[in-house]
Amino acid sequence: MTDTTDNPYEGLYGGDASHWAFGTGFEDPLATLGDTRVPEGVDPRDLAAYAVMLADDALVLSHRLSEWCSNAPDLEEDVALANVALDLLGQARLLYARAATIDPESVPGVPDGSPVPAEDAYAFFRDAGEFRNVGLVERCDEDFADAVVRLLLVASWRLAVMERLRAGSDPVLAAVAAKAVKELAYHRDYAGRWVVTLARGTEESRRRVQAARERVWRWRAELGATHPVEERVAQAGAGVDPAAVDDEVDAVLRQVWDAGDLDVPPREAVPAPRGRDGHHTDALTDLLEEMQSVARAHPLGRW
């Protein structure tokens, strides 16, 4: 379709009034893809596991952010956090769907007769031990400062990864990354602004954001610690080695700390055991219990 962005006169005639209410020109990030075969030289099981790691990060954080809906400091922040959550949910769906095409055996079994698609099988029919998200995304927020500090860390890291993944050899992961980069740039901006606002606000808001960062910071190191799956997929040209973006992430975070007049916290050791290996805190078990309850109670339901 023609882009009418720069010529508002275009299309005034014969227009549909509903355009004003809902907008048009929605894009399918995978629409222009031709060949979607798994690239040569990559172990399909590794590539699927890699897609599931990125998807699990997005799904679990999406759920944590959605918990803010109706609980945020202001109606506008309810909507803002829900938007971020939906962006991440969209990334998770595409990544799960890709994992299922790459390695059908990785799709979890669902109850007999269940009509749910593969993406739902990953989300609703795996237990905590099968999730491969980093520990950072599963922890409970204690307050709004927790939410924005955690989002700043995840969005900064994920943006750096997705920027490189756009050039990866898997066409679908590259297309998902291209879509994700635009979303994550906004998430990072949103979170960074709030961290600075709180840090330079009142004594109480500064105390809160500093306390939140102390709580969240121990999970920072895992983001930069390469898992063997990430290493193999990156070496094959289809993924990104997190160690390669670690300094860049630190530089971005340092800008935010500086703007908020916060000191630069020292790096801590990688938490062990790791979420990427399926070791999780009770927080994830509780989250999944709630998130999966409806799908598991009605395994034959259509959604």
Binding site: E10, L12, H19, W20, G25, D74, E76, V79, A80
Partner: protein
């Protein structure tokens, strides 16, 4: 540290749609400052792909006509149909009139 106010100020939001000629008033919201108002407007009013440009302005910066003035302001133009350009032939190559 600046003084703390109980509530964020109100802003009015104007969005130009992809097919829209002008920015159109779409609603209002609360925000702590102009930059936050712009981002809130993006989050609240352009979620369904409505816009390509946003204006925000503090509500208290708008001077509005009063309903009491309705008659003196607007009634006088109600019977002056000759002010409409309906008595002219519009050339075919003038599309947007």
């Amino acid at each position: 540290m600046t003084d703390v106010k109980a509530e964020w100020p109100l802003y009015e939001v104007f969005v130009r749609g992809k097919r829209g000629l002008n920015h159109v008033h779409v609603g209002s919201l609360h925000a702590a400052d102009d930059a936050m108002a712009l981002r809130h407007a993006r989050d609240v009013y352009t979620r369904r792909n409505e816009g390509v440009s946003i204006w925000v302005v503090r509500s208290d910066a708008i001077t509005a006509s009063s309903p009491d003035e309705k008659d003196p302001l607007f009634a006088p133009s109600g019977d002056k149909v000759y002010r409409h350009p309906t008595f002219y032939e519009i050339p075919d190559d003038v599309p947007h009139m």
